[in-house]
Symmetry: C2
Subunit: 384 residues, 2 copies
């Protein structure tokens, strides 16, 4: 049915009506006092969301642009960086680092498995010369639905003392607890079309004091992504380059909604949706791609073995108007991914699971008792 699409992908995520309506307001001048007030409010609320007193800077860019800014502002050509690679996005941060002439050492895990924090500990402890300038980690690996153990890896980075920790929280921020100051994270990057409940178009980079120290001597070239310019102007509630004014209107509304719900409730909701999704998928006899211990709070990847992943996506889209994500790169056709990130409630998940059951029946898959997936999710909801 036209205009009936329900997004259950990891981004763009569903956008609340009041956020969409804010987008449709007539723009104001970005050098006006009114924009300054808007900037002051969203900046304060972004700090709340990041649980930080540090700078949180707003870019007109995708999450990749934000993450690139988070890397290139704090390093110099030839610097050694340790990049965690267990999916498309970890690989991407290695590519960014290489494109800028950094020396990249990868710590890898199979796609679908979490990075092993012990490998980071060993490598960092062996670096007695303190050659490692940064450790770059994808917190929730969107391509596989795997959550990496940032808290533990970060502890090893802190023990090293020299390296910065630079984190892609694109699909964890606003879904899972990422207390920037309590953990002492140096650089935290994210994008609007995820937990923020906004369309794509804004990137965010939070920067701590140790990263600003590194900025002072960092030599990689940058201009549009020069975070020092954004910091200087943010102090005056303005931006160095024309900001996407309408996205700022929408950000203001979305952050107010998040504050009204409260961080603890947001995290609990995502945890509940994740647990319910996984219980349902197990009840349906479909293999989960990531282990329970490393389940992303934003996205659940499923690797069906007796039914075609792309056929499932096709029926879900055509008949039930539900968009699921496919696999990326070598996982194309091998997995499908259910997004439960941002403006997603229990009803949405039940609808998606019911439609998934109906789709499996239509495709002749016989490995499950009809109704068992929905029942398993409902049981989680009843107990939480």
């Amino acid at each position: 049915m036209d205009d009936k699409l329900m997004l259950m992908i990891p981004g763009p995520t569903p956008v609340p009506e009041q956020v969409l309506l804010a987008l449709a307001k007539h723009p104001i001048g970005h050098r006006s006092g009114d924009f300054g007030k808007l900037m002051a409010e969203v900046t304060a609320n972004l700090k709340w969301l990041h649980q930080t007193q540090n700078d949180v800077l707003i870019l007109a860019a995708s999450g990749t642009g934000a993450m690139e800014a988070g890397i290139i502002n704090f390093l110099s050509p030839g610097d050694l960086v340790l990049v965690g690679c267990n999916g498309k996005f970890g690989d991407r941060w290695a590519e960014v680092s290489q494109a800028y002439g950094l020396t990249v050492e990868k710590i890898t895990a199979e796609w679908g498995q979490a990075l092993d924090p012990e490998q980071f500990r060993e490598r960092l402890e062996a670096d007695s010369q303190k050659q490692i300038k940064a450790v770059i980690i994808t917190h929730s690996e969107t391509s596989t639905g795997v959550m990496n153990d940032l808290e533990t890896i970060n502890r090893y980075v802190k023990a090293h003392g020299e390296a910065l920790i630079i984190v892609d929280t694109v699909t964890s921020l606003g879904a899972y607890n990422v207390p920037m100051d309590a953990w002492g994270l140096d650089v935290v990057a994210s994008g609007s079309q995820k937990g923020y409940m906004l369309p794509p178009g804004l990137g965010f980079v939070a920067v701590g004091p140790k990263a600003w120290e590194a900025y002072a001597t960092a030599k990689l070239p940058r201009f549009y992504l020069d975070l020092g310019k954004y910091r200087k102007d943010a102090a005056k509630n303005t931006t160095p380059f024309t900001p996407p004014v309408n996205m700022f209107f929408a950000l203001q509304v979305a952050l107010r909604m998040m504050q009204a719900e409260g961080l603890e409730n947001i995290f609990a909701r995502h945890q509940r949706l994740t647990t319910a999704t996984r219980a349902a998928i197990k009840a349906l006899g479909l293999p989960l791609f990531a282990p329970d211990a490393a389940a992303s709070p934003a996205i659940t990847a499923v690797a069906p073995d007796r039914v075609d992943a792309e056929q499932i996506r096709s029926v879900m889209k055509k008949r039930y108007d539900i968009a699921l994500a496919g696999g990326q790169d070598h996982l194309k056709g091998k997995i499908f991914r259910i997004g439960h990130l941002g403006f997603v409630g229990d009803r949405d998940l039940l609808a998606a699971l019911a439609a998934l059951e109906a789709t499996l029946q239509e495709l002749g898959y016989e490995g499950f008792t009809p109704g068992s997936g929905v029942a398993a999710a409902a049981k989680i909801f009843a107990n939480s």
Copy 2:
């Protein structure tokens, strides 16, 4: 009055209602067939707008991000570039070039005056070793309302044979004739919040064959702004990084509106508004900042000598809900700027001029016959 603001600044420019409503649509997945169709349509229409068969690439970035991409993709460290500097944006492109380690030679003119094409001719003719790799020009200098003679300067670049011409058309595209292919422009950059009639958030870079040749050996680092990635994906109607989906909805509507009006009509409207504005300002006895021969089709800067520019802006805003732009950098407080770019009609200009007259009366300025500004503009309208 709340929500009554009328934008007569050089950007963001007024946005038509149907474009705003498109922004408020629920996003779709950017890896979907529906997005591919949208991308195909807007790409074709962008080529129409640029009067080109070349690639026109769409970035989630401001105009500065687009222009930076237009520079860094085609050059290598140390390359000599000739930058035309007669305002804030010309200076900015010199700064970008310096930030990336290019060797910058500036050709300057006073702010408020046009660049002298003969200086380009002389410097290019003297370069028998073909050391100059690019000439970087701001077509319409937004900070001063000056139009540079791109057509003539480009002819000298063509005679040189080696150098690329890289042009900031941020406030000329969609207002003035910039026939990319007919003139043989190599790189043309622009931003959404201008002639496009959109809010800020998208940058555009059109790239010709000679620039792509340079791309193949260009060595400046880039990833998010790597235009080769955008070109490769645009051929498949997709994007390398998550695109601002809702801005694409709006772009689709705005480009359809531009096509319905027609390029010739769009250019004629901007010419008419420019001529009428200048006739009115002269009738009011206020000094124009740029000479007639170098008048920007997007913006008219006024340098009042017997009345305070910031007071004019303040009364216009508070009493008449009209936003005018102030001066930038050393021109702050010395000029005000009237935007007549994008979704601006004859009625809007008459309203702004009538309010300007009323403001001058309120401020006790006696150098004009009340009504004479509006009358002068009306005379232009009557004869065109």
